[in-house]
Amino acid sequence: MSLENLTQDWSRYRNGIEEGGFHNYEHRWGMAIDLNACIGCNACSTACYAENNLAVVGKERFSKGHYMHWMRIERYWDEDQAKAEFPDQGANFLPMLCQQCGAAPCEPVCPVAATYHTPDGLNAQVYNRCIGSRYCSNNCPYRVRYFNFWSYPESAWPAPLNLQLNPDITVRDKGVMEKCTFCVQRIRVAKDTAKMENRKIKDGEFTTACAQACPTSAIHFGDLMDAESAVTKLWAKHQVKRHDDEGLPVSTQHKQNPALRGYRVLEELNTDPSVMYLERVREELA
């Protein structure tokens, strides 16, 4: 019976690895974002708007936090310069998107299984299943889930702006949670194409909209299960591991060389993010 199938799979997806959860991955899409290269220019964010049918909400709704940018650039100022007259270095930019956690805090709290873990290692959001409880966004430490407080199709895409909408991804309606999908529609096309040609997906044959746009190529995207992929090599080079590669607890990175730049944001929360950041680099000239 399909219902049984669904509930069984659901419970497996919901369990963490320590409980024998479903982690029979086909792919594990992951990223590496180099903060030495990121210039904070917003190209990635706009690419995301164009690719993923993100609604423009306007000033008033923006002020209430109803904005929809799946990819945002956070900007911080150096804390040790709080007393200085001027910042003697630039800003700290942090592109922040769904970290596609391996042990995602958003998943187990969904009352209707609208968000779950896919065999590709993604935190999926099934829009037509979502009832809008918003538990998931409350539980997300990265603040990367966005809720449709309003129905945007009419206001955000007055004709003929609607002609730009990408038919490969749905337009979400009021009451639905949405978030970065690692451009799952592009993943799908790549998987379909590979399957049609009876081959495996080649590293670099597709990438996410943000990584494609980035003028400094700060964003790298690929399959962490493909040992030859550029992103796997970057993770290895910087000695960052998924915890279940070796069954390690997430927070224990055991980097042999702590001077390497790889880290994951808030990894001490045991979320096992799929996004590795490379530390920002600055000259010490002060």
Partner: protein
């Protein structure tokens, strides 16, 4: 791709490029799910190309026209709709990358405020007319002018190049006029003049990736300077491997400044003295100074420069030492340097550093001469704006054509342009949108969007070799009858010189002929004209290499005067350009309005950046509305308190304050350009855009600034962005 027997529209149609706009009416409400049979129409292709498959996107190469940098684009088209723009990897300018403005090209194209019908002023009001009437009126009016006073016809455009520029030139020649005014607010005209005088080339190639240190005086090369996407790709190389050092000196932190290793808040208008101070320190450490510049360098010992610029003598000496240590380097001057009454002298002082450090020939190299003068870019400036305003005021013009620029919005009120326009009897505006200039027009001609049009373009900054980029329509025009810009120009030319241009059905066939008649030495051997045309369109560009020359180092005398304090207007107004809204032309793009400013993170608004000490003196905090008054007007803006601005400066971003530019732009914020003084850069005649003094006063009004991540200023000791030293980077990853 081509069939000369067909009109463009017909062949597009036969190719299955559909008018997607036609089926808009009668949309269901979003919540109405109708899967019911027979309720919807499915319209099949008539006779599609083999490669057109429903459900599969096709990518076409074209050129981005969102700014003048000339990036190549690939546009994804599905079912006749352009859906997404990405960079063209074959383009040496942007190498497959595209900035947020470029990507928003689709929203310029699909903008709901686009004009679909021509408008004519009747009884003082603009009313819709038919295309036939529009062309007729145009023929009559320009014809009448041609008979009596062709020399009193003018074109006023933004930066144009390629065959578009050639045709504008031909049109003016046909009329016997020499009035082609080219205007851009965001330009590097003063820098080009300095380059021309010192190096012998207006826009040499800058090898950012070869530089071990870049010292930028307000040149926002990652954001708004010359060719930002190109320089961002170069920056990535500059920051990898041995990792170059970036030092930025400017009165207000730009996007480039926000990525600096060392950011120096220089007193506005004193950048030239800072450059001389650094030159002096270099001289002291044994670097030779060209004779002509020696008196100027000698006059600014670091201690004196420190006094003037607010940058300590130790810092000045440190920067000089860094420059000496990291060779070759690259020193750049941007808008804050150039936009002063002594901008040319200050930019020359910056260029002097390159000469002293031996960068010319290493990181600054000749780009050669582009072989086709007709197609060379006419780069925009503000001198032409001033000249045009004067010509209008003096009743020197009878007919003016406007294209690609919105001078009524960008001109400082002190130039009196809006009043002057009343003296031009017939003003024709070619535009996609109703804007402030179109509102003053006598005839408004809607033109095709850049995604619907043919064209060729030549970027002012050529990164590798001479390249003509090609623009082709990604889809059928949304509004039938709306001509491409080239088509409109051809039509105008046919009205004057029918025998010469009658052979060309349209701009498309004109361009095809142009490619076919390319001099043989530039054609790849073994290609037929048809193959050449198809290959060029497919690639999006045509390379016409030219042998690079060699650069000179003609340093002249440099004379800088002290910047005097103004007791009544103590603050320097910085009308800062944004990568996003640019000079205001992108204020009608919802994605860009909602994209937070990179530094302040403000959306949908204007703001005034004030240093905390200045804000404290004025008794204002973030969100308080201040009135900024110059001798030429006043604007009201909310305060954004920010340490990355010099206490003597107040920075208001460009782009907002529109009154007639559509639903997304109107009524938001203020336009700082309006209150600029008409002061002129002494050598070049450019407007001194950064030379206006203002005062700020409290209004007592407070409104919250809408920002992304309202309180995300500090990481609060969380490990979000971690910074390591460059030394450690070089140890673990360096080459």
């Amino acid at each position: 791709m081509m069939n000369l027997k067909l009109k463009r529209r017909e062949f597009l149609q036969l190719m299955g490029w559909s008018t997607a706009g036609a089926t808009l009416a009668g949309c269901d409400l979003p919540t109405t799910v109708t899967l019911e049979e027979g309720k919807e129409e499915v319209v099949a292709y008539l006779s599609p190309e083999e490669y057109v498959i429903p459900g599969v996107g096709v990518w076409y190469a074209s050129t981005c026209l969102q700014c003048a940098a000339g990036c190549g684009i690939h546009g994804r088209v599905r079912e006749g709709r352009a859906l997404k723009l990405e960079g063209n990897p074959d383009s040496p300018v942007n190498r497959g990358k595209l900035c947020q403005m470029g990507q928003s090209g689709v929203q310029t194209h699909y903008n709901p405020d686009r004009l679909s019908k021509p408008q004519l002023r009747k009884d003082g009001k603009l009313v819709d007319i038919s295309w036939d009437e529009a062309w007729k009126v145009l023929d009559e009016k320009v014809g009448a002018a041609a008979k009596t006073s062709g020399a009193r016809v003018a074109w006023f455009t933004g930066t144009v190049s390629g065959h578009q520029a050639a045709l504008i030139g031909e049109h003016l020649d046909a009329l016997g006029s020499r009035h082609h005014f080219v205007h851009e607010v965001i330009n590097n005209a003063v820098g080009r003049a300095v380059n021309q005088d010192v190096l012998g080339e207006a826009m040499p190639r800058l090898a950012l990736d070869q530089a071990k240190l870049v010292l930028s005086f307000g040149a926002d090369f990652l954001g708004t300077w010359v060719s930002p996407t190109h320089f961002a790709t170069e920056y990535a190389k500059f920051r990898s491997g041995t990792r170059g050092v970036l030092v930025v000196a400017e009165p207000k932190m730009s996007l480039t400044g926000a990525n600096a290793d060392l950011w120096l808040a220089v007193r506005p208008g004193t950048e030239g003295m800072l450059a001389l101070g650094i030159a002096h320190a270099l001289m002291q450490s044994g670097v030779s100074v060209p004779d002509a510049a020696r008196p100027a360098v000698a006059a600014y010992a670091p201690v004196k420069a420190a006094e003037i610029t607010g940058i300590s003598a130790q810092r000045i000496e440190q920067v000089a030492a860094l420059l000496k240590q990291h060779s070759p380097s690259l020193v750049l001057a941007g808008a804050t340097v150039e936009g002063q009454e002594q901008g040319y002298q200050a930019a020359s002082a910056v260029m002097l550093l390159n000469v002293m450090l031996g960068n010319v020939g290493q990181t600054i190299v000749s780009s050669g001469e582009f072989p086709f003068p007709q197609l060379r870019p006419r780069t925009g400036n503000t001198r032409d704006l001033v000249a045009f305003a004067a010509a209008a005021k003096d009743k020197a013009l009878d007919v003016a054509f406007f294209y690609g620029t919105n001078p009524v919005y960008t001109a400082p009120a002190s130039l009196g342009l809006a009043e002057g326009l009343q003296n031009i009897p017939f003003k024709v505006v070619l535009t996609q949108f109703p804007d402030e200039t179109a509102a003053q027009a006598d005839l408004v001609l809607p033109v095709a969007s850049s995604l619907e049009d043919w064209g060729t373009h030549v970027a002012a900054y050529q990164p590798e070799q001479g390249v003509i980029t090609f623009q082709q329509p990604l889809m059928e025009g949304l509004y039938p009858g709306t001509p491409g810009v080239g088509d409109a120009l051809l039509k105008l030319l046919k009205m004057r010189e029918a025998q010469k241009y009658g052979a060309f059905n349209d701009y498309f066939s004109y361009l095809q002929n142009a490619v076919a008649s390319l001099p043989e030495q530039y054609k790849a051997s073994g290609l037929t004209n048809k193959q050449l045309w198809e290959q060029t369109l497919q690639k999006g560009l045509l390379t016409v290499d030219s042998a690079p020359g060699s650069l000179k180092t003609n340093v002249g005398e440099i004379t800088l005067h002290e910047v005097k304090a103004d007791a009544e207007y103590p603050l320097h107004l910085i009308p800062s350009p944004r990568l996003g809204l640019w000079d205001g032309r992108h204020a009608n793009i919802p994605w860009l309005q909602e994209a937070p400013d990179q530094i302040s993170k403000v959306v949908w608004d204007s703001w005034a950046e004030l240093h905390p000490s200045t804000a404290a003196r004025l008794g204002v905090r973030e969100g308080d509305v201040v009135e900024i008054t110059s001798a030429h007007g006043a604007i009201k803006v909310k305060v954004y308190v920010f340490k990355g601005v010099h206490p003597d400066a107040i920075a208001v971003p460009l782009g907002q304050g529109h009154e007639g530019y559509g639903r997304y732009a109107n009524g938001i914020g203020a336009n700082p350009l309006k209150i600029l003084s008409p002061a002129i850069e002494a050598r070049t005649g450019e407007l001194a855009l950064y030379g206006t003094r203002v005062k700020a006063t409290r209004t007592g009004v407070h409104e919250e600034l809408v920002k992304e991540g309202r309180n995300n200023i500090s990481q609060r000791s969380r490990k979000l962005v971690v910074t390591i030293s460059a030394e450690q980077f070089r140890r673990t990853e360096g080459v």
